[in-house]
């Protein structure tokens, strides 16, 4: 590690400038760190930025990011002041990832835990194969969102594209706007008090004020596909 990096690390708070440091240096620096506040500049759509973090740190990225930003995140809070490319917060474990712009496809894919907040829109396959992560999208999501989602939640304040929740397991989906179409085995379900309480907490955690839980509909699995039944063989 160079002198400049040692100085940065000693301070516990730092500006990491991708015009001065390589992507690998920035990520390695964050991997070697357990806490502090960090600002990343000149991201310019770089891939794999702030991936694999595991510490009680706060990382703000001042610009747009490319593919796989904040993948596998544990504990860290990552904020992107811009848009994110494919695979945002993929396989996230815990902590919080907040994108202030839009996210491209497969945002939060296979996420196990924590909270992912997208202020803008997310495109296709948002929350695909979700396994426990909570996702709140303040805009709309694209087609095939929550495909095969097993656990966790997807909250959408806007609309959804085609085939929401196709082949869904036990993830909970809440949509305020219009659902273009539901995927196989995904159905509208009753919004009971326990769901309203859970949704209210998700909205509060995501910093959403002014949205009434009564405006949302809940969707979930009809559970007719994932227990194999020979009568459904044609549907697979």
């Amino acid at each position: 590690m160079g002198t400049a990096l040692r100085t940065l690390r000693a301070s516990g708070n730092a500006v990491l400038d991708l015009a001065q440091m390589s992507l690998r240096e920035v990520n390695q620096f964050l991997h070697d760190t357990d806490n502090g506040d960090f600002l990343i500049r000149n991201s310019r759509g770089a891939h794999s930025l702030a991936c694999g973090l595991d510490g009680d740190m706060s990382v703000t990225i001042d610009g747009h990011v490319g593919y796989y930003c904040a993948g596998m995140n544990k504990r860290a809070h990552v904020t992107v002041n811009g848009n994110a490319g494919t695979g945002l917060a993929e396989n996230m474990m815990s902590g919080r990832v907040h994108v202030k712009g839009d996210a491209s496809q497969s945002a939060g894919a296979t996420g196990c835990g924590g909270l992912l907040v997208i202020d803008g829109n997310a495109s296709a396959r948002c929350g695909i194969a979700l396994r426990g992560l909570d996702i709140v999208v303040k805009g709309s999501v694209g087609h095939m969102s929550a495909f095969m989602a097993q656990a966790g939640s997807l909250v959408v304040l806007g609309d959804t594209g085609d085939a929401l929740g196709d082949s869904l397991y036990e993830a909970r989906l809440f949509v305020r706007g219009t659902v273009k179409s539901l995927g196989a085995d995904c159905v509208a379900k009753e919004m009971r008090d326990e769901h309203k309480i859970a949704l209210r907490k998700l909205l509060d955690d995501a910093g959403v004020s002014g949205a009434d839980v009564a405006e949302f509909k809940r969707y979930g699995s009809a559970r007719s596909l994932y227990h194999f039944h020979v009568d459904n063989a044609g549907q697979y």
């Binding site: 310019r44 839009d102 491209s104 496809q105 495109s123 296709a124």
Partner: protein, 298 residues
């Protein structure tokens, strides 16, 4: 994989920078398509028709070919040589000249034909191809570039994108088509001339044939949603227009950015980042099965 970059200028003051701006975009996409590359530039309007050609292999006596073409079409043909490429300029009928060249000059590929379009292609690292052909010095109103990672057919100069089969029309493609053989047969019966086995050339010929039959660029792309089966993000250039479309599944990436000065499309935002004013551009991901089109004529 493949990388696409397209730039459509709205501010005429930037025309002198078109090659440099598009080149900066493509340099960010070399790793998405390291095996070959190509570029279409819509430059100043020529008197008559420009035909761009590239040698298949080794040196070619372009002047001798130009003399033969001149005799065949009954019009003068001027030659400009750029490395292994040549640009023929003639007041004769461009469509007839193109067919004559394809039928009579097996040592070369015809890359484009039109009043404004010029296409250049090469095999190898895209940045090195741009340097060799001095692409970044080129000027004009809009340009489309492609860096290729071949999937459907061989890595050759002719298999590089853009593909052009119609007057001042070209297409670049990220993806793969599954019904291109059947469609190629239909188009051949209608008189289309193909120079490769590439699926993307079929898409280019399909769109050119639809537009010759009266479709607008937007209409041709919408018909393509029905007739082209497979994965694609296309960028299409015409004499005065530029359009982007993704198939209904939208697996292949695309980002569009627009300012008062330009519209840019790229496979990834990092290719847009080098453009002046990118940080304040309106940026969005094109929706599936939706045509986005701009025209200088409108």
């Amino acid at each position: 994989m493949c990388g696409i970059a397209g730039l459509f200028l709205k501010n005429d003051a930037l025309q002198g920078d078109l090659g440099r701006m598009t080149g900066a975009m493509l340099r960010e996409l070399c790793d998405r398509g390291p095996d070959s590359a190509g570029f279409a530039v819509y430059g100043g309007q020529a008197q008559g028709t420009k035909l761009c050609m590239v040698s298949r292999n080794g040196a070619i006596d372009w002047s001798a070919i130009a003399r033969r073409l001149s005799d065949a079409i009954g019009a003068d043909v001027a030659v400009e040589e750029i490395e292994d490429h040549a640009i023929f300029k003639t007041m004769g009928a461009g469509e007839i000249a193109r067919k004559w060249l394809i039928d009579n000059v097996p040592a070369a590929y015809v890359l484009s034909q039109g009043q404004r379009i010029e296409i250049f292609k090469g095999v190898g690292n895209p940045a090195a191809i741009m340097d060799r052909l001095d692409f970044e010095a080129r000027t004009g109103t809009h340009a489309i570039g492609h860096t290729r990672m071949a999937t459907e057919s061989a890595v050759t100069v002719a298999g590089s994108h853009p593909f052009s089969t119609g007057d001042d029309t070209c297409l670049v493609h990220n993806g793969s088509l599954s019904n291109h053989n059947r469609l190629r047969e239909q188009l051949v019966r209608q008189g289309e001339r193909f120079q490769t086995d590439n699926d993307s050339e079929v898409a280019a010929a399909y769109l050119a044939s639809r537009m010759r039959a009266g479709d607008t660029l937007k209409g041709a792309l919408e018909n393509g949603l029905r007739d082209l089966d497979g994965f694609y993000t296309f960028v299409v250039g015409t004499r005065d227009g530029f359009a982007v479309i993704r198939d209904p599944i939208a697996c292949k990436p695309a980002v569009i950015a627009e300012t008062d000065d330009w519209v840019a499309m790229a496979s990834e935002y990092r290719a847009i980042a080098p453009l002046p004013g990118a940080e304040n551009a309106k940026i969005w991901e094109p929706a599936p099965a939706t045509v986005y089109a701009w025209s200088r004529a409108a």
